[in-house]
Amino acid sequence: MAIQNKAAANKNLDSIRKTIANHKRHDFIFASLGTLVIASLTITLLILFLDLVIDGYPRFNLDFFSNFPSRRAARAGILSAWIGSSLVLLVTFFVAVPLGITSGVYLEEYAKKNWFSDLIEINVSNLAGVPSIIYGLLALGLFVYSFGLGQSILTAGLTLALLMLPIVIVSTREAIRAIPVHIREAAYAVGATKWQVCHNHVIPYSYGGILTGVIIGMARAIGETAPVITIGALTFIAFLPPSPIGLEPPFINFEWLESGFTVLPIQMFNWISRPQLAFHINAAATGAVIIMLTLLMNGLAIKLRYNIRKKIKW
């Protein structure tokens, strides 16, 4: 009898083990599939990047960064392009960040929740997915012609700011929503006003997430080509905009805002469309520079987020 029971128990145990092994196989299949997909994506990206680096390798020297474009490929550099990109991004940053953060905070903390705010929310999220050429056309009509800002750094900065704005708003709102209700209630319970809650708690605690959104938005803006072409960025430019910082008082001037310009992706586009193969080397080198800048910015975003998360726990 006892032996029989034992045999039955063993059989039962066997079937349990079999079931578990069966289920674990699903785990294994999914994990391998996931690894395969991730690996193929990463490898594709890596190959593309390496290809650019290898193609552009002959141009990786200081001259490439300090030379203007030239008719001779070997002497052509990206000086005007990287300075143009930096100045445009400067404008973008100072327009999109304050506007985006304040809109995000307003929508999340102040705006009444009704159908109208829902409508705004859906539209803001959709704006992040609108093709960038549309922004370019809008900017051409609005900034270049209606406002008469011309084909300037200011126009480009504003255009890219439009493009970046939804990203900043959405990430600001998400970061704010991650703040637990009980922290917010704690602040209200001691008698804080809405503004005090926003200023002392909501914005500082969501800072990490907001910053990430800003950097990712900038990384997107730096690689944008279509809208900048639409508003008429120059493709061959052998001068620099007036320096924003002067040696004489008032030390800061804003003439550069009205200057013509080019940016890195346009410079690359220009070179790749030349028939001479030598210019393709320049294009590859520029592409590698843009990708490295994007990677650096994203890396910075991850690092900042990590540092700030360490300091904030709920």
Binding site: A187, V190, G191, H201
Partner: protein
């Protein structure tokens, strides 16, 4: 309602009803006094409206659109109905502070947590702040444990210490009434005991209204107990009376564990 007690009324709800935005009625004409320098405990099964009632006292419901109060809460000595539209909820919260169920310190330093209520009131004098922070931390019996690390982040404290920090934060602004919403439900027995002792000390200075679903806790610390069920006040009396000789059958059933 309860005339036999010779106590000073600090606040009193009169026919207080409360409706959430989805029109559910969470409180039905609750009339309840809060006596000065006493602890009043609210007991009852989950969902009976005791937390909702507590949160009326600092107008916490105003933070969410669509909530509606009906009735009055009269705060003494100035005889103000704190639920009136023209009474600013911020003013109410400056007089009546609150300690929550889960310890909820700000992700800031210990010092800043306690000082926050004072900063909100515009206090920026370093010396005054230092004094009041020390006083509040002493009042919350936390001073000896944290005095050497006031600049440490608050979340490095244990759960019980965090809750006492929240009490210090609520205490620093010298409130007239302190609301406790199940303050020990997330704490271990020793931390719970510390907080209970602390509340008994605090009532020398202010009036306390506490929600608890731990009946023994109500019996241990409170002077008055109110039993609520389904948004209604079933019985309110001295704690001794409620626990030894309740006048209503429902109260007795709940207290003896036949129900709830």
């Amino acid at each position: 309602m309860v005339k036999k007690h010779n106590e000073i009324i600090k606040a009193e709800s009169k026919d207080l009803s409360f409706f959430y935005a989805d029109k559910t009625q969470a409180l039905k004409k609750v009339s309840l006094p809060v006596y000065e320098n006493k602890i009043t405990a609210l007991i009852g099964p989950s969902g009976c409206g005791k937390s909702t009632f507590l949160r009326c006292f600092n107008r916490m419901h105003d933070l969410y659109a669509g909530n509606r109060y009906d009735g009055k809460i009269i705060l003494q000595p100035d005889n103000t109905d704190i639920l009136l539209e023209n009474v600013d909820p911020i003013e109410v919260r400056m007089r009546i502070s609150m300690v929550f169920q889960k310890p909820n310190p700000f992700p800031k330093s210990i010092y800043e947590n306690v000082a926050y209520g004072l900063r909100v009131r515009g206090e920026s004098n370093k010396r005054t702040l230092d004094e009041k922070v020390e006083e509040a931390l002493k009042g919350a019996s936390l001073w000896s444990e944290v005095k050497d690390r006031l600049q440490d982040l608050a979340f490095n404290l244990s759960g019980g210490q965090q809750q006492r920090l929240c009490i210090a934060r609520a205490l620093a602004t010298e409130p007239e009434i302190m609301l406790f919403d199940e303050p020990t439900s997330a704490l271990d027995p020793i931390a719970t005991m510390n907080i209970e002792e602390l509340m008994s000390e605090l009532k020398q200075k202010l009036s306390i209204l506490i929600v608890t679903h731990n009946m023994q806790q109500a019996a241990r610390i409170s002077d008055y107990t109110a039993y609520m069920y389904l948004g209604e006040l079933v019985e309110f009396d001295g704690t001794n009376q409620i626990f030894t000789n309740p006048s209503k059958k429902e109260t007795e059933d709940y207290i003896t564990g036949k129900f709830g």
